[in-house]
């Protein structure tokens, strides 16, 4: 976020997230704590996608798959009684990274619409794989019997408390935002932006752009995997629905709605998307009829999404 207004709005938003577990019960809407936790989880997935879409110009239509890999890894391990977070988390994030690296290595050889289709195809493969896992609940999903355990020896540490998991999610989200801002400001970020505007030129200047794109794709899959890890812990339940292609579409919409290529864009996008759908769904079952046109208006009139409204004139 370039401007002072943008910074103030972004920080205020984080403060609202921080006080929500206290505020929501006070105003008699404790349910909103869950809504805000989900917003943060999807914001994290959108943040992962934004790394390659917003900065590198790669439109992946299959990023929910990596959320699913992260969530299922935790779910399946927990199902078999392995609840140590020290084992679950690295394994889940690592597996998401491996899937993203393999799928990315193939998808990134294509461009434009083919890239969109092939990322969608890979995510559908994982979706149907999850559906076919009858041992793990198939379509009905899988209960995660207990949350990740971080106890060392006799020192007990866990995230069983609902406030604890909420704040763990918030802290990890803030860490991701910080790490991403550092990454984007560095040479890696410059090269990603260069790839978005002129890949041939970068190659002619001696940069093997494929490697950078693959690294970014893998990293973005891992961030989505981390979001999946937290999903499984928060919901206590994983299902193939998490990897459905409409989920990938929603993450894509959050990025574009919030402002592709902007640090806080995914957070704005996820907040507006999920809150709006929540509020509209209270009035009517056909809330999509209102939601759709709003999205179209934002795309047409708020260039650069919601984040774009707070940006200076010389935005890139």
């Amino acid at each position: 976020m370039d401007t002072a207004v943008g910074k103030v709005v972004s920080i205020s938003l984080l403060v609202i997230f921080a006080v929500m577990p206290v505020l929501a019960p006070l105003v008699g809407e404790p349910y909103y704590v869950d809504v805000f936790a989900r917003i943060m989880l999807w914001a994290m997935a959108a943040l992962g996608l934004n790394l390659i879409l917003g900065f590198g110009g790669m439109v992946s239509f299959g990023h929910a798959a990596y959320v699913g890999v992260g969530a299922y890894t935790v779910g399946i391990l927990s199902h078999h009684g392995v609840s140590s977070g020290f084992l679950q988390w690295p394994l889940a994030i690592g597996l998401s990274g491996i899937f993203a690296a393999i799928f990315g290595a193939i998808s990134l050889r294509t461009r434009g619409i083919y890239f969109i289709m092939i990322t969608l195809a890979f995510s559908q493969m994982l979706y149907f794989l999850a559906v076919s896992l009858e041992q793990y609940g198939s379509n009905d999903g899988l209960l995660v019997p207990e949350r990740s355990d971080f106890s060392i020896g006799t020192l007990h540490a866990g995230i069983d408390d609902d406030h604890a998991i909420y704040y763990v999610i918030l802290c990890i989200l803030v860490l991701c935002l910080y790490a991403k801002s550092r990454l984007i400001a560095g040479r890696f970020g410059m090269i990603l932006k260069g790839i978005k505007s002129n890949e041939t030129r970068l190659q002619a200047l001696g940069v093997s752009t494929y490697r950078y794109r693959l690294a970014a794709f893998t990293l973005s899959g891992m961030i989505c995997g981390l979001s999946g890890v937290l999903f499984a812990n928060f919901e206590g339940f994983v299902s193939p629905d998490l990897m459905h292609w409409t989920r990938s579409g929603e993450v894509l919409i959050m990025v574009i709605l919030g402002g592709a290529g902007m640090l806080f864009g995914p957070l704005f996008g996820a907040t507006v998307f999920l809150l709006l759908s929540e509020v509209l769904a209270r009035f009517t079952d056909y809330w999509n009829i209102i939601f759709g046109p709003i999205l179209i208006l934002v795309v047409l009139y708020a260039k650069g999404g919601i984040g774009g409204l707070f940006r200076g004139r010389n935005r890139g």
Binding site: R187, L205, G316
Partner: protein, 228 residues
């Protein structure tokens, strides 16, 4: 340093180059002249690996680089400044320079002393610079990759005469430092004293080559081959 021999290339089924031969030695400024559509840009693109040649060889210091991917050719020591500049519009001046930099003689400081104008624009987005500033930026960007050979396509096209002579005086400085420069520029004749050798291209082959003195003395040659 650079030897191009029997180079044939084209776009899809449409041939453009029919056997191009040229040489660039270290510390030389070489121009590639000719009317539009004769294959100058294509030649430069093949040398820098953006297009693959169909036949022929490009050697850099004895190493055959033709057919390599462009990023490997750039790493081998060729800096390419394309004709339509192509700064990275969303990166600022400093970021444009350091994003693709490789260690060597050229640093931010040295580029800024070569182009003092850029030093005053460090945090401006590349896309907001004037044409002349953008050209300086892309030359600086290519220098920051620390090449041994600098290739410029339409080095001063569309620039004001003063900027044009500034760019050429910079090329002179680079030559004095021992860098090889291969340049396509309609306005090269204004700086003939700097140029070691000219090649004139006609219909995809080199039809004439010679020194600046020979080029200047041949009024007929200039009239026939260079007028648009």
């Amino acid at each position: 340093m650079l030897t191009v021999s029997g180079l044939k290339a084209g776009y899809d089924e449409f041939p453009v180059l029919f056997g191009v031969d040229l040489k660039v030695g270290s510390g030389e400024i070489i121009t590639l002249l000719g009317r539009n559509g004769m294959g100058k840009t294509t030649t430069l693109r093949v040398i820098s690996g953006i297009i693959k040649p169909k036949e022929g060889k490009v050697c850099l210091d004895g190493l055959v680089i033709s057919g390599w991917r462009s990023y490997r050719i750039a790493k081998a020591g060729i800096g390419f400044v394309p004709e339509d500049r192509q700064v990275f519009p969303s990166l600022n001046v400093v970021e444009n320079l350091i994003a693709t930099a490789r260690p060597g003689y050229w640093t931010l400081h040295k580029v800024f002393s070569l182009f003092p104008l850029l030093a005053d624009r460090q945090t401006i987005q590349g896309g907001l610079l004037s044409g002349g500033e953008q050209q300086m930026l892309v030359i600086g960007r290519a220098l920051m990759t620390n090449p041994r050979l600098l290739i410029l396509d339409e080095a001063t096209e569309g620039l004001a005469p003063m900027v044009r002579s500034e760019i050429w005086s910079c090329l002179g400085k680079l030559k004095d430092m021992g860098m090889a420069v291969l340049v396509v520029d309609k306005y090269a004749s204004a700086s003939v004293e700097l140029v070691d050798r000219h090649y004139i291209m006609e219909k995809g082959v080199i039809s004439w080559s010679g020194s600046s003195a020979e080029l200047s003395s041949s009024v007929m040659l200039r009239g026939q081959l260079l007028s648009v």
